[in-house]
Symmetry: D3
Subunit: 218 residues, 6 copies
């Protein structure tokens, strides 16, 4: 039997974010498990900040998934852009959104989740996401660090990420925090230690969920 | 002062639907009010049924709005495709979605609204819309007539529309019904009379709202 | 055909508030549109602050509407007093409440609406209104200016209105603000500019909605 | 010390309903407890069916309570008419609404409560009440018996009450039922036995709650 | 006929808390009412702080209730531990939880209730309780005093209780406060006076509700 | 490094259910992944039907987890009994409940999930679970097959499971179904084919989630 394969698509064109995701999911590459391939989207913008950015990648994602024979797909942008259209295109193969997976995992670790947001414009999308997912009663809020996706993959941002995480706990009364971008994985443990509540890196969670879906065919 | 203008975009390429919308909004063309121009979207699919259909028109709508100097815009598809991206593109000019406007108007006329849906695949979008709008507690449900957008502009469909409306009242306990497509206006009064509760045609409501927004600059 | 007519009833007896409403709706008086008549309610209290104030005007409003042959009615108090009883009395003619119309319009411009309240006693009514409308998940909160209805029509109040609006944005995380009284229209644009988010004057919105309802007979 | 007194006001003028309430609360008249006085409202309509009926009794109730020196008040109509205005008028003395008390008690006995409604026009009020109370997620629905308040105090109505209760269980999936009128107490046990789930008579519950409030001064 | 009897079980083994409850319910012991017996649970922990504490008393409570012939039971811990299992064991006899009763009573006195919590670990349970009760939209939040159950029965704690109550009003915008432990009754009136909103002692409310249930057999 | 280990505890004492779970999770046993050990709970009842059954296993589960050095735990009963107390006992090691995991996975595959319930008494627990999880707006309902846990592991039950699944789709309008017991895995694919919507086996999902948690240390 051919080895199964999960395709993780970073819908922006920032190579540093793609690399950060690739590194973040390394612990999930195990013997007997599916291959995990992480790719960027050449047609994507450098980062997804505005709603236009998010919507601009939907058809490219649909096309990418349609022509790829992977066994499962992960959309590695916290806006979960095109999640439902991509699911149609995947013809029954599992499609995981990192926001959905990250938030649901967070809800197993705390009562109220907060989101570290890149920018004010992404907060509104996160507010709509909490409602469309039907988990609004457990959403503590989002806090912006005012950064681009590419910046979050670097080291300099850590202090601001910690500050945002702490504000979510003290101002918004969150007891679990989700990182609202796919490139922040290297900061996860440090933020969790600094703020004293669990911190979730959503791309890792989505890939883990994809492994389960591939193994179970469900 | 130049006369103000509202651009109503039917995001599908069905001329009969565009014509039906044009006729539906005729009562709103008054001497002192803005011009109301109704256009189709050449790039759009014949009708919007799948999520892919809905998402495929977002960037064309963004582009259309960006290059048009209208004073306000109405997105005349019940999926409100690209509503938030188009709002960004409109640079502060009002953008009205027909689902938002139709549903909010319905909530002034009844306690629980139902939606006549074109197809099962649109029902899921309507369920998500009720949640993202935050009005889920007043959503009675959707009932499919299993038709294309173009069919709903014709006369043959009326019986099925009435049946769906009645099912919403008796099965889902709706007390007001919204037509879940922009082309059904000619059937509105007949359905309302047949089922005994108010029936809302959403494109009319969105254009009416656009007139107010234009006159008030809010 | 006789010209259609919208009757706007300010349920308090404060002439300055009635005059402020009359001025606020001036942009909606257009050729081809319905007449817009703004009247006070002689039986009403000077302002509506307590729940008793609000309830005391319901039967007078019912009586006023019953004996008036207007084509549509607007209840111009943010408590929407007697909305459902007046609708019964109107025998199918449209009845618009300014809170309902202002809030629904706000929900098209932001994710979370806040309300500038006259007094602490009106905040509780606004909390109940958000729940009864079913839009509680999008209600950021209310902030009191501690003023009477008549005061809000004057110029001295502007600073306090701005402060309340700013508190709604910074403390309650609102991204759109509704003025919680019918007499504040002259301050709308100034507050919006000062606080950086859209501000809605609800009486204007309700009259705009009434125009649509009259033109569409829906 | 003078004996404490609870005033129960039936806001309609139907003597048979007042008598039915008086009989229903008899088990709550105990040594050491407060007096329980049940009165009708001469100004009230024969029954409260329309919203106008409900609103018409608010100011008479406010006036009745203002001039009465009872230690607590029960509003014995399932619309809880004027509940908040009467609370203002009572100056800190407890005011209990029978819908509030009946519904909260029901929520201790089942997961989803249904309401036996007098008429379709009262169902809408009950839907609003479930939302304004914030317990909509536990509201299974209402079922109308198509009767007047006075009829419900008589014996002939029992079969229809049982049918409505059964429909709430089988159609709406309620597991506890509240009687949506103050005059139905004599049927309570019989309906409960027939339909197999607990049935709550709300006037009894409100008077019981008033006794607690009087004894505890809270 | 034998006198009816309500058994109030304090599920912790702290005699001072049991004594505080006994004193708190004294005003509810009236000539014609049921006996009210307050007991501790020898098997219980000194106080209920962790979830393990709460769960550890469920089977002892089930056993206690099974072998006792009381006419109604009150579980006097704000976690309402084992409420549904104890109801099964009671075979139809009423079982009242103090959190359920305290919160429902609070909802008659304000729009948004806050809870004075013993410790951060109990806040999470209160958050889950608000959701499971379906009253989350009216829950303002909880504020911890960082104390044990036994401490709350003493006098030294009053200042911290007042501080927590005030924080609920000013930070969380509560307009009614529930004491989140069964032993705080002696501080109730003082806190209410200090913070200016009603304060509910839940054990009193549950015993009052039990009296009604016993008298009404419902 | 020692191989990591997931302990799956079936909290009832039915060996056939334990065996069914063991078989269900076989596809998740891969070369590079953790060991997956499935055990029954000797102290548990034959099946978990009443709330007493569910609560009776909490302390035994707490004790089992406390003394076991597994790296993660799965509670394999759809009531998720003792989930929060076991998490405390696990000292930071992941604890997955099968209801939580099954329901969150279902929410990625449909808009409204339904649950195949063993018995009417488990439906109430599922209703509370949907609320406590905060996903009530996406819960279509539960449908009972009237069977014991042991029966569901056998072949004879399949027709009743299909009937229940179909009722969830047609009566409750679910578009994804979760099996409400840990022993039904062998029927999953057959039910899904028969009813035409995805069907989730929750024990598989929880073990898959545990693998991710073990690999990611989150």
């Amino acid at each position: 039997m051919t080895r199964r394969r999960i395709l993780v698509v970073n819908p922006n064109s920032s190579a540093s974010v793609t690399a950060a995701i690739d590194e973040a999911v390394a612990p999930l590459r195990i013997a007997g498990g599916p291959d995990i391939e992480v790719v960027g989207l050449a047609e994507g913008p450098p980062g997804i900040s505005s709603q236009r950015d998010a919507d601009s990648v939907v058809m490219p994602l649909v096309n990418r998934v349609t022509r790829d024979d992977a066994d499962a797909f992960v959309l590695a942008c916290f806006s979960d852009p095109g999640l439902h259209a991509v699911r149609e295109a995947a013809g029954g193969r599992p499609v995981l959104g990192i926001a959905e997976c990250g938030i649901f995992r967070a809800l197993m670790l705390g009562e109220r989740f907060g989101v570290i947001a890149l920018s004010p414009s992404s907060i509104r999308r996160q507010q709509r996401m909490a409602r469309v997912m039907g988990v609004d009663s457990r959403y503590a809020g989002s806090w912006s660090v005012g950064a681009s996706a590419a910046e979050t993959a670097g080291a300099d941002i850590r202090g601001r990420l910690v500050d945002a995480g702490r504000a979510l706990v003290t101002q918004c009364r969150a007891d679990v925090v989700v990182m609202g971008c796919a490139g922040m994985a290297s900061h996860r443990a440090a933020i969790a230690e600094a703020i004293g509540v669990p911190v979730i890196e959503p791309a890792q969670q989505a890939v883990a969920a994809a492994i389960g879906a591939v193994l179970l065919n469900t």
